[in-house]
């Protein structure tokens, strides 16, 4: 199966921050998966809320939109929906490409 490459344009002056930003997103993904296994919807909601705030601030629109879906899914305890969104988040982080401008 071919996976899409997601290209994100980031301001040049944020370049120093991006490696840590992406590393934190990957940690976040692991935490989301563990929290879903534990059905810890409150922790998932908090992470979704944070993704919503931080994603677009760095230029990662998809992190914000997935964060909103995850936050809403956690509020509704929608396990199936959350599985889909968290999987989409993993796919996105694996295939995101960054250009600085």
């Amino acid at each position: 199966m071919t996976q899409d490459v997601h290209t994100v344009k980031v301001s040049k002056d944020l370049e120093d921050l991006i490696p840590t930003f992406l590393a934190n997103r990957k940690k976040e993904l692991d935490t989301l998966r563990q929290a879903l296994t534990a059905a810890d919807f409150e922790q998932i909601r908090q992470i979704g809320h944070r993704m919503r705030g931080v994603g677009n601030s760095y230029g990662f629109d998809n992190v914000t939109s997935l964060g909103k879906l995850i936050e809403d899914g956690a509020k509704a305890s929608d396990r199936a929906g959350l599985e889909t969104h968290i999987a989409a988040y993993g796919e996105y982080l694996s295939n995101v490409r960054i250009t600085y401008e």
């Binding site: 120093d16 921050l17 940690k27 919503r52 705030g53 931080v54």
Partner: protein, 375 residues
């Protein structure tokens, strides 16, 4: 949320405008800090509410960018505390929040936030708001500096004017008192005061034999010496008429050592005037000296006069007694009422005192004991 790593940011050189960034999300905190730094500002980052309060107390910033959902003390509470403390109330606070509901916005307004910024943060919008608040803050600081400078100038002018009438330290206390001239109460009152009356012996000879413009210069020189002595010991000058000077101690501020102050003033007046007197003798051939009367007792203090001309002064038997003693005193002699003399006896040089005849004042049946000290 604390498991996330903090991005490494290249530090910018120090600038004057300091921004405190408060966010428990290290990515968001560093993004805000990097944005501030790119604009030449000096950011400091903390990750919880109590750390924010401590950072503001340690070094007040020029602006606070404050997340709302913080561990422990919330951003609303931090904002409320900063805005209710007079020392920090003027620091602009921008709440940076992903909360979009109306209730959160109302809570922010109630907490006193100066502005709101929604997450995700648009950097252009962030900078536009920060720049606006920076301008406002700097304008407010400039106005405050101008107001303070004007206040200092006004006080200096007032100090200069008042210092012609009362001692410099008394002037400081009057200007520093809440409500301005608080020591000079509008209603008369009674108080225990040590009164010093001084005048110039040989003055009538001066006015008869010396040209007018010399007389004025001589009087000014004489009063200069006496007022310097009075001010040195923080006496309050109430009256200057002809060649006599009325000084009060323990008024309008309490001076527990008022008798000692009055005595030292009398000694200083005589010793400071001695060289002046010697010079006058050489230049004009006149014999002069200072005669002083000292008395302690109750006086009435008040603003006495008409709406057109008013004096803050002291009146009563104690003042009259001091005036009478002054009239009786010879050159370089201090006449001290007996009760006051007892309280200054240890200060009086040995062998200079003798008991004078008792004085009966007009309208009084009892005589007053008097000690004479020749200086």
């Amino acid at each position: 949320m604390s498991d996330l790593a903090t991005p490494v940011r290249n530090l910018a050189p120090q600038t004057a405008f300091r921004v405190l960034v408060v966010d428990d999300d290290p990515d968001m905190a560093e993004l805000l800090a990097a944005t501030m730094e790119a604009e030449g500002m000096e950011p400091e980052v903390v990750s919880d509410g109590e750390a924010a309060i401590a950072a503001v107390a340690a070094a007040p910033p020029d602006l606070v960018l404050l997340d709302v959902l913080l561990p422990g003390t919330s951003g609303f509470e931090v904002c409320r505390r900063l805005k209710t403390d007079p020392l920090t109330a003027l620091i602009p606070v921008v709440l940076v929040t992903a909360l979009e509901d109306r209730e959160s916005r109302l809570l922010g307004i109630e907490a006193g936030a100066d502005d709101f910024l929604h997450k995700p943060v648009r950097r252009e919008e962030l900078m536009a708001r920060v720049k606006t608040l920076r301008r406002l803050h700097e304008t407010r600081r400039e106005l405050e500096a101008q107001r303070l400078a004007a206040e200092v100038e006004h006080k200096e002018a007032l100090h200069k004017a008042l210092s012609r009438y009362v001692s410099p330290r008394l002037t400081d206390r009057i200007i520093g008192a809440a409500g301005g001239a608080a020591p000079f109460r509008t209603e008369a009152e009674r108080a225990d005061v040590v009164v010093l009356f001084a005048d110039l012996r040989g003055f009538s000879r001066i006015t008869e034999t010396i040209r007018v413009h010399h007389v004025v210069d001589m009087l000014n020189e004489y009063f200069w010496v006496l007022t310097e002595a009075a001010y040195q010991h923080e006496g309050t000058i109430f009256n200057m008429a002809g060649d006599s000077l009325l000084v009060g101690f323990n008024v309008p501020f309490a001076q527990p050592d008022a008798p000692a102050r009055a005595w030292r003033t009398a000694m200083d007046m005589v010793s400071r005037f001695a060289p002046v007197s010697a010079e006058w003798r050489t230049r004009f051939g006149v014999a002069t000296g200072v005669g002083i009367g000292l008395c302690r007792g109750e006086v009435i203090i008040g603003n006495i006069g008409s709406p057109h001309f008013m004096s803050y002064t002291i009146i009563g038997d104690t003042v009259n007694t001091a005036a009478r003693l002054m009239q009786m005193a010879q050159a370089d002699e201090v006449l001290v009422e007996a009760a006051l003399y007892e309280s200054i006896r240890p200060l009086v040089p040995a062998g200079r005192t003798h008991v004078r005849e008792e004085v009966v004042l007009r309208g009084k049946s009892e005589a007053v004991g008097v000690y004479s000290v020749k200086l």
